[in-house]
């Protein structure tokens, strides 16, 4: 139970400031009074940003003007001094930048602190015809923009004014019908419907809807179709429209003008100064002498004048700023009505009564009330929670939440999660709202606006106002994910520090680094460095960039800072090949080739990657780099592979063509081989040189062969050439080649043996076998004979094979007796058994023989 205030009294008095408006009530809540600013809205123009945002006040002086921005609690934020130029329009973007539109079509955007972001010409046609009027709007979807009318009555729309300078899209709307082309609309307004923003204009009593491609006349569902409308208002949601004529006749209804909800004659011929919708609920009309609220159907009320003031539509009401106050006019929401209306029989109201009795020590009465609404207790609790959320006064909020809590107690363990969540969330959000509504912060945002805006955007706004500690506290309190909360706020804070040039580079860097290291948050230092660079603080930028953890960003930023060398180092140390290539490409574009090649000194990874790329795409570059590194073998091997990559010719049918094709491919190949040879020579690579020399000699030998013996071995390996000679019985030539190229004996024997076998020259094989002791043994001889199924031939060589192999070889050639004999001499019983098993059935002699042997062996 809170001390110091009487909950009962508070709850009973919560509806005292309601003004009846038909079946409902309107309420005008004073957010701030006794504003301490020197503003006179009678002479100064002011515009208010939506969602309880800042207010900009334009003061005109002799030959110059200025704009001061304030919070709605009149705390000064920024100041802009303007020289010359005629300002036609002034308004806010969705993220609270201030937009000025000059009559020459220039658009200038300032931050809320008065720092110019950019200026641009909207469109040449706008400049040529001059801007007559500008209307700013913001839509319920959360974007904001403006529409421009030129003096030739053409309309242009910028649907989203938050974009960057070059991304601002100016949309030209379709023209008014030709008959009305030269007539000034008597009134017009922006019609925000989704991204398709249009304009509603009234020309000579006729209403038109103008969009990109067409202008449509709209008939207003009104008894008297000849009314001369002087003002128009479209609700923020774009759903409701209101028109008023100079006699004070009001038409209001749906924004397609097809259904009329209000028909009313205000009976005042004085000029309406401003007309705005409060949500879609009622219209607020500002007159010099009074303020008129016109609800739907027949209901209305009149408030006394508050002096010079400005209205600003919100999604759920109208903000009203006077020279000394900031107020909020809105319809009393349904839940507030249920709970707080006198004599309400809604469960919420009864719960409220029960609670009042309970704290007034009349608990039996309280019990009675609770019993009465027993079945509807969850509704009652929710109504109280919802009503609390609608209140500005913390005391009333608290009282209503206490009511709700009291009711919740009776729900016992069955209380649903919805109720608990609603209670906790509302309490938590209200704490945040009360905090930002405080005059020190000055954002008198309603709960509904807050829900629509989202906590993240509120934090953005606070950050934008440089309320960093408050923003951080809210982030933590609402447990916002750190990428939309804490990190974002701190990044903005760091950017602010970077822009503040009164502090030295080192100090700023230290401040930023300590702050982030202390809370263990890793942020994009590259982003901050980018701003530092824009602010011409190169040292600071470099210092911060050192700490960037995302190498991609770091490298990108270094490139932007023309620190290509450093960027290359960072890229290589990240081992990210694509990043290295990206830097190299950039360097290549901006440097002379000779300079470019120098970057590879002492950068092995970069050099290796460049070489890999060159292998396929830039042969010359690769050779150059190899030279720079004195890598002769690398260069030579590359050239050699280029040489062998020269495509082999297709088989041509015609002899002559075939020859030519062969030459076409051999000549460039030889050229490249020559180059490779030079590299090998420069590198004193004797083995490589020898290989190339041998190849050259072999080629000559082959050409000679072709002339002398008429068979073509050009292009074959030495091994194949020798085989070819042997096949053609050119044994001398083969021997010669072997000698000339120092082919090892073993290989030569293989070549000759296989070549002889391939032409089935078994006589020569036998002769060959006897030439000298075979360096490859005699098994291969057996093998080649077996391949040709020449078992008798094979048997010739088996005795010269190693003893332990003979038995098995005889088994293969099918000479079983010899096999048995051999087995016997080796005392290989297992082999004998195998023979018995394999041949036992069809070779009785063998069986006997083996049995004999086995006996002999057994006997021994």
């Amino acid at each position: 139970m809170a001390d110091g205030f009487d909950v009962g009294e508070i709850l009973s008095g919560a509806n005292l400031d309601w003004t009846p408006l038909g079946e409902g009530f309107a309420k005008c809540y004073m957010n701030y009074d006794e504003l301490e600013w020197k503003v006179d809205l009678a002479n100064q123009k002011a515009v208010v940003a939506p969602y309880g945002g800042s207010i900009a006040v334009l003061t005109k002086h002799e030959g110059w003007s200025d704009i001061t921005t304030y919070t709605l609690a009149a705390k000064k934020i920024g100041f802009i001094k303007l020289e010359g130029g005629k300002i036609v329009g002034m308004g806010w973007t969705a993220s609270e930048d201030l937009v000025l539109i000059y009559d020459d079509g220039t658009m200038v955007v300032y931050t809320v602190h008065g720092v110019m972001k950019f200026q641009r010409l909207l469109a040449r046609e706008i400049r040529d015809h001059r801007v007559a009027q500008v209307r700013f709007f913001h839509s319920i979807e959360g974007f904001a923009g403006f529409a421009v009318m030129t003096f030739d009555y053409h309309f242009y729309v910028v649907a989203d004014s938050d974009r960057d300078k070059d991304d601002i899209r100016v949309k030209t709307l379709a023209e008014l019908p030709s008959g009305t082309l030269n007539t000034c609309p008597s009134c017009w307004a922006v019609m925000p419907s989704g991204k398709n923003v249009g304009v509603i204009a009234v020309v000579e009593g006729q209403v038109y809807l103008m969009q990109s491609f067409e202008t449509v006349p709209i008939s207003v569902a009104c008894k008297d179709s000849n009314r001369q409308w002087t003002s128009i208002a479209i609700s923020l949601s774009g759903k409701a429209a209101a028109l008023i004529d100079k006699t004070g006749y009001i038409w209001a209804g749906s924004s397609d003008f097809k259904s009329q909800e209000v028909e009313f004659d205000i009976q005042s011929s004085s000029n309406v100064l401003q007309m705005e919708w409060s949500g879609n609920d009622f219209i607020v009309l500002l007159y010099e002498k009074f303020i008129f609220l016109k609800g739907l159907a027949k209901h209305w009320c009149k408030l006394p004048s508050k002096g010079p003031c400005v209205l600003a539509a919100e999604i759920d009401g109208v903000r009203l700023v006077t020279n000394t106050t900031c107020e909020f006019i809105h319809r009393v929401p349904k839940s507030s009505l249920s709970v707080l209306k006198v004599a309400s029989l809604q469960p919420g109201a009864i719960l409220n009564d029960a609670y009042k009795e309970y704290i007034g020590d009349e608990s039996h009465k309280a019990d009675e009330y609770i019993r009465y609404i027993k079945d509807k207790l969850p509704d009652a609790v929710l109504q109280c929670i919802s009503a609390a959320s609608e209140e500005f006064e913390p005391k009333i909020q608290q009282a209503l939440l206490m009511s709700a809590n009291f009711g919740k107690g009776f729900l016992g363990p069955d209380v649903s999660d919805d109720i608990i969540t609603a209670f906790v969330e509302t309490a938590r959000n209200l704490r945040v709202l009360n905090f930002v509504r405080d005059p020190a912060i000055g954002i008198p945002i309603t709960y509904r606006q807050f829900s629509r805006l989202s906590p993240g955007v509120l934090v953005d706004r606070l950050t934008n106002h440089r309320q960093y500690p408050v923003a951080l506290e809210i982030c933590n309190y609402l447990k916002l994910p750190s990428d939309v909360g804490e990190v974002k706020v701190l990044t903005q804070w760091a950017l602010h520090k970077v822009r503040d040039k009164t502090v030295s580079d080192t100090k700023v860097a230290n401040m930023i680094l300590t702050r982030f290291k202390s809370c263990g948050i890793v942020i994009s230092y590259a982003d901050i460095a980018r701003v530092a660079r824009q602010e011409d603080r190169r040292t600071l930028a470099a210092q911060l960039l050192e700490h960037e953890v995302l190498v991609e960003d770091q490298v990108q930023m270094l490139l932007e800072m023309d620190e290509a060398d450093k960027a290359l180092d960072k890229a290589t140390s990240s081992w990210d090949a694509q990043l290295v290539y990206e830097v190299l490409e950039r360097m290549k574009g901006s440097q002379r080739t000779s300079d470019y090649m120098k970057v590879f000194n002492h950068r092995p990874t970069a050099a290796a990657l460049y070489k890999k790329y060159c292998k396929e795409n830039d042969s010359e570059g690769l050779v150059n780099l190899c030279h720079q590194e004195s890598d002769f073998v690398g260069a030579g091997i590359h050239l050699l592979s280029q040489a062998y990559r020269v495509a082999k010719p297709k088989e041509e049918k015609d002899e002559k063509e075939r020859k030519e094709a062969k030459e076409r491919f051999l000549v460039p190949r030889q050229e490249l081989v020559k180059q490779a040879y030079k590299e090998f020579t420069d590198g004193q690579l004797s083995f490589h040189m020898k290989v190339i020399e041998d190849q050259d000699r072999l080629h000559r030998e082959q050409t000679q062969l072709k002339e002398d013996h008429k068979f073509d071995t050009v292009g074959l390996t030495l091994f194949s050439t020798i085989m070819e000679c042997v096949r053609r019985s050119q044994f001398k030539v083969a021997d010669n080649l072997k000698k000339k190229f120092a082919m090892p004996d073993t290989l030569f024997w293989w070549a000759k043996l296989r070549a002889l076998a391939s032409v089935a020259n078994f006589e020569e094989i036998e002769r060959f076998s006897k030439q000298k002791k075979s360096p490859i043994g005699y098994e291969p001889f057996v093998e080649v004979c077996l391949q040709k199924n020449r078992f008798t031939e094979a048997n010739k060589y088996i005795p010269r094979c190693p003893p332990n192999k003979r038995c098995r070889l005889y088994m293969i050639t099918g000479d079983w007796h010899k096999a048995a004999e051999t087995a016997a001499s080796e005392r290989n019983i297992a082999a004998l058994d195998e023979m018995l098993q394999r041949q036992g059935r069809n070779d009785a002699a063998l069986v006997d023989y083996i049995k004999q042997i086995k006996m002999k062996l057994g006997a021994q």
């Binding site: 890793v522 953890v549 290539y581 592979s641 290989v691």
Partner: protein, 617 residues
């Protein structure tokens, strides 16, 4: 390919999440599903993208048709007139850009084209597109944009993740292109975002050190912008072991002798499936409707843990496969016999419920019997046995002169060059280099037998460290101290991970094994020093309260991510699974690798740099 990805589920960490996050990304890239679109494929991506997004899923995303590059003037093709979007899924290769340009040579104005680079954009590709008037974000004369699908890693099975960088080995050891390292770091980063900070980092080798260093940096990146997922997740992976492929290249070049390993050696497993000659398989395995003409294409068989029988046998030594299959056959027929024992309705019902499962097993059995037969045909060939003996001799003997003549014999018989070079490399690696004379002799032999252009092959093999002149005898010491050679392995009931090569335990796997012993790597610091490259033992701070409190036990094992930088083979995966499957094991392994390799593909990747080299298979 399975439509559900259920083979990813059920491991110690849920790799479905990896697949799911890739799917979400793809969905985002393809945009509004109600807009008709055509996917234009880079052929080489169909397998990898297909692993995370199978066809029905693509259809859900509004994909109307799919075509392959090269294709010309695709907008003029019949039936594509009402398609508004054409999406090119391509690898960042300059050569593919020409195909793209040809494909949209004469585009209609209303069409829009999106080039999606997988897994990353390339500045050179973008430049080439721009030179052909295809600029990212342009809207006239038609809409064109460039996107990125960061498919950094592919979950292959419930315990295997591949980065699918087929060139990883040559990138790292030949071209010195660090892309695989970058991608490894990004992937481990992603895993940490999903499964929490990995508290302990171990590593061996230069590339492992680079990755470990970069991991520290990415930790900060994770923190940035308050992405608190990794911070707040309780670590599900207890340690990561980064293994540079150079730690054991002998294992990489040896012929794998596990069932899965041999399928990969002989038929090549790509994206979880392998192709076999169709006519060898019975019809029920092919699942082709009867009477339909038999398709001529090879039969593609999916090989994942989703198939129960395969999962149980894939890691076994091939010698035991016959036994396993016949045991399975008996079990299945016994299970079918049970129907005679079913007496009550209840029993019959139980039997019927088991039936689909049994049918599936029967198909599995038939399929794997055929595959095993196909493999046996080749393992029985003398050429295969000779290679195995030669490899064994090279690994086991300290000075294997006998191998020299076998290698020369292979040259003399003009065996495929990759086979010869693979053996030479193995000899060089197993002996910590070759004697200068022998090396010269081999080199000359290669040139004389296979041609001058193989000067390039030899150069590249030397550059990659696969061939060198002998300097020390360090491998012999490592071999002995880590007990890499194990005699008398029991292929049927292995007692040591060496069973995967019938007597050789990969050093990579041994290092992982040692980490589980008391004192871990500290115990073997001297040995670690003999293996080239730095040793990493670090800790990463985890969120307070997230530290592992209890020592791992066989009931509550720890999870260790073993990451191979430069590739790993199915045999190594099998060996790690063997370790985890032992009764006393306190660790489960998740295997990460830049790519799956075997000796053949590894040699291929190096030889691919030699002009006119084509693998003869």
């Amino acid at each position: 390919m399975t439509a559900t990805g259920s083979h990813l589920f059920g491991g110690r960490i849920n790799l479905m999440l990896v697949r799911e996050s890739a799917r979400i990304e793809l969905k985002d890239i393809l945009g509004n599903p109600s807009q008709k679109k055509v996917i234009v494929w880079d052929d080489t991506l169909i397998g990898s993208v297909g692993l995370v997004a199978e066809v029905p899923f693509l259809l859900q995303l509004g994909v109307y048709k799919m075509i392959r590059l090269p294709a010309e003037n695709i907008t003029d093709m019949d039936g594509y007139r009402d398609v508004s979007e054409f999406i090119f899924l391509v690898r960042p290769q300059l050569s593919i850009i020409d195909d793209i340009i040809k494909a949209i040579a004469r585009p209609a104005k209303s069409k829009s084209f999106v080039v999606v680079f997988v897994p990353r954009k390339s500045i050179h590709c973008i430049k080439k597109l721009e030179e052909n008037r295809l600029k990212d974000g342009q809207t006239t004369p038609f809409s064109f944009s460039i996107k990125e699908f960061r498919l950094d890693m592919l979950p292959l099975d419930q315990d295997v993740i591949s980065l699918d960088i087929n060139s990883a080995f040559t990138d790292l050891y030949l071209d010195m292109d660090p892309t695989p390292l970058d991608q490894t770091v990004r992937s481990i980063g992603r895993l940490q975002a999903l499964f929490g900070v990995i508290p302990r980092i171990y590593g061996k080798g230069r590339n492992a050190e680079i990755v470990a260093n970069m991991m520290e940096r990415t930790r900060q990146e994770l923190m940035r912008g308050g992405e608190s997922t990794a911070k707040d997740t309780i670590p599900q992976i207890d340690a990561v072991i980064l293994l540079d492929r150079s730690v054991d290249l002998v294992a990489a070049l040896s012929t794998q002798l596990t069932y899965e390993g041999l399928i990969d050696e002989f038929f090549g497993i790509r994206y979880n499936s392998a192709k076999f000659p169709r006519d060898q398989f019975s019809e029920d395995v092919q699942q082709v409707p009867k009477n339909a003409p038999p398709p001529i294409t090879p039969l593609s068989v999916t090989l994942t843990s989703e198939e129960n029988m395969y999962s149980n046998m894939r890691d076994s030594n091939f010698r035991s496969i016959g036994k396993i299959l016949s045991k399975k056959a008996r079990e299945i027929s016994a299970a079918f016999e049970e129907r005679h024992d079913a007496k009550t309705v209840q029993q019959l019902k139980q039997f019927v419920q088991k039936l689909p499962h049994m049918q599936q097993d029967k198909i599995s059995l038939s399929r794997h019997t055929t595959i095993a037969e196909l493999i046996k045909q080749r393992t029985d060939m003398p050429e295969f046995l000779e290679v195995i003996y030669a490899e064994q001799a090279l690994r086991e003997e300290d000075n294997s002169d006998g191998a020299d003549s076998y290698i020369e014999q292979c040259m003399g018989k003009q065996e495929p060059i990759e086979k010869v070079l693979r053996l030479i490399c193995l000899q060089s690696l197993a002996n910590s280099g070759l004697k200068p004379k022998l090396l010269e002799r081999y080199k000359m032999g290669i040139i004389q037998c296979y041609g001058t252009q193989h000067l390039i092959s030899l150069h590249n093999l030397e550059k990659a460290g696969l061939i060198k002149v002998q300097e020390s005898k360090s491998f012999a010491v490592v071999k002995r101290s880590l007990r890499l050679i194990v005699e008398k392995v029991d292929e049927f009931a292995p007692k040591d991970s060496a069973y995967v090569f019938s007597g050789y335990a990969p050093a990579t796997v041994r290092l992982v094994e040692y980490l589980d012993r008391p004192n871990g790597w500290q115990q073997i610091e001297d040995i670690l020093r003999l293996i080239p490259g730095p040793t990493i033992m670090r800790e990463q701070k985890v969120h307070k309260g997230h530290e592992r409190k209890k020592k791992p036990t066989p009931d509550q094992p720890q999870v260790v991510l073993v990451f191979f930088i430069g590739g790993c083979s199915y045999a190594e995966i099998a060996a790690l699974r063997y370790l985890a499957g032992r009764e006393e094991a306190v660790t489960d392994y998740i295997i990460g690798t830049t790519n799956i390799i075997n000796g053949g593909t590894l040699m291929d990747s190096v030889l691919a740099n030699t002009p006119h080299y084509e693998r003869q298979n």
